[in-house]
């Protein structure tokens, strides 16, 4: 029996999770929500995490009912992410490890998402689409590494959605992506947007500029003689609908190509954008056509959480990974394929 405790706080979510051999004992999370039109900035986010982290830890310990002596290892997010929030979490994790005299283990955030997704859905060796506010990657496992088949060449898909939410000033509570999804359900008219798949990679920044022009023509074209009347403006619902349809189609396309390349019959969607039901629906249609199976999780596990770090840490710890104290630092850049996979994913040919 191995119990691990995981701290996550690489972006605007702060979470603590406790897991025992794949059984979730506690999963507590808080989100730093900014006013409409504003994003979360590193300094303020770190401040939020500093305020909340100890309360969340206490709550997780109460919920899980584990005794401190039974916890085997303290895990935290080593990277990638914003430096100030990562550092806040690392400081708390290190102090806890020292006070309780437990080993410490830094976990790659992306690996956390993948392992969490595999645990919850029981997918064996899926092609993974990792979509969140900071990352967009298509990943498949091969030869002790999660290999990146395709990724964004500029901003992440979630960043594109978040920034569009700020442009049209919709609420960030519970998350901008969720609110866009709700508006998109009422959209009926499709406005064409650039479709930018570049081989296995994708790009979102051009789409964002284009949709900003459609949403705020006054701002985009100040010298325009003819004044645009409000009635002429596309509705927010239609814009959200058009944006989602376009970017999700791009994601489905590269995922399908990665599957064809690997001969894979499983798709796993992880990351915060992964709880978007329209994305799941579109991916499901593609999977059905290919006789593949789609795996996805709900917002408890899709969105950043402590459990994913605890579980990935569990996989690492039980297969012998240890970390020296002086290595318990953070790093903003930490690619998915930097991590040597020591646990069993699939039988390597």
């Amino acid at each position: 029996m191995v119990i691990t405790l995981g701290f996550e706080g690489s972006a605007n979510k702060i979470g603590v999770g406790i897991i025992r051999d794949g059984k979730v004992l506690a999963n507590v999370r808080k989100t730093y929500v900014t006013p409409p039109g504003f994003g979360f900035l590193p300094k303020e986010t770190a401040e939020h995490h500093r305020e909340k982290i100890l309360g969340i830890l206490k709550e997780a310990l109460e919920v899980s009912k584990v005794e401190i002596k039974d916890i085997d290892v303290i895990c935290y997010t080593k990277g990638p992410g914003m430096a100030p929030p990562l550092l806040t979490v690392a400081i708390a994790a290190r102090t806890i490890a020292q006070v309780w005299n437990k080993p410490i283990l830094g976990v790659n955030h992306c690996i956390g998402h993948i392992e969490m997704g595999r645990l919850i859905t029981k997918a064996k060796n899926p092609t993974v689409l990792y979509v969140s506010g900071g990352n967009t990657q298509v990943i498949a496992y091969s030869n002790r590494k999660y290999r990146i088949f395709g990724e964004t060449i500029d901003i992440a898909v979630g960043n594109c959605l978040d920034r569009f939410a700020r442009i049209i000033k919709i609420s960030n509570d519970p998350s901008p992506g969720y609110n866009i999804e709700q508006l998109a359900k009422k959209g009926t008219k499709y406005y064409p947007l650039p479709y930018s798949v570049k081989g296995m990679d994708i790009s979102f920044s051009g789409i964002l500029s284009e949709i900003e022009k459609k949403a705020l023509p006054h701002k985009a074209n100040k010298n325009r003689k003819k004044k645009v009347e409000d009635e002429e403006l596309p509705s927010h619902e239609d814009l959200c609908f058009s944006l989602q349809e376009t970017i999700f189609a791009m994601l489905v396309e590269i995922t399908e190509r990665a599957m064809a390349h690997c001969g894979s019959h499983e798709v796993l969607i992880v990351g915060g954008v992964g709880c978007n039901e329209r994305l799941q629906e579109m991916m499901g249609i593609m999977c059905k056509e290919r006789n593949a199976k789609l795996f996805a999780t709900d917002e408890r596990f899709c969105i950043d959480n402590g459990i994913m770090i605890a579980h990935a840490g569990w996989e690492m710890f039980t297969t012998g990974t240890r970390m020296k104290w002086d290595e318990a630092t953070i790093t903003q850049r930490y690619r998915t394929d930097d991590v040597e996979v020591t646990w069993d994913v699939a039988s390597d040919e």
Partner: protein, 91 residues
């Protein structure tokens, strides 16, 4: 050129508490662009840290960041301590 020097001396209630703060805080490198030299010294229950740099703004930033980390470390010890062992037994 390292004109500006700030030394802060922090007494802790016990040697172990000071040791923990020392170990938790010392391992993060200063950002390279900051051009700050930071030196930690642990002497029983006293932790002292010296910041050296030639740009006042950078020294101030380094100091502010240090305080934020220190406060979190101390609060964590207060709420989840006292330490269960006199020394840390892992790697």
């Amino acid at each position: 050129m390292e004109d500006i020097k700030i030394k802060i001396i922090i007494p802790f209630p016990t040697n172990r508490a000071a040791q923990i703060a020392y170990d938790v805080l010392r391992i993060d490198p200063e950002p390279k662009r900051n051009h700050i030299k930071k030196e930690y010294v642990l002497d029983d229950n006293i932790l002292s840290v010296e910041f050296c740099g030639d740009i006042a703004k950078n020294v101030r930033t380094a100091l502010t960041n240090f305080y934020e980390s220190l406060i979190l470390c101390v609060e964590t010890q207060d709420q989840f301590g006292p330490p269960l062992s006199e020394e840390y037994n892992y790697y």
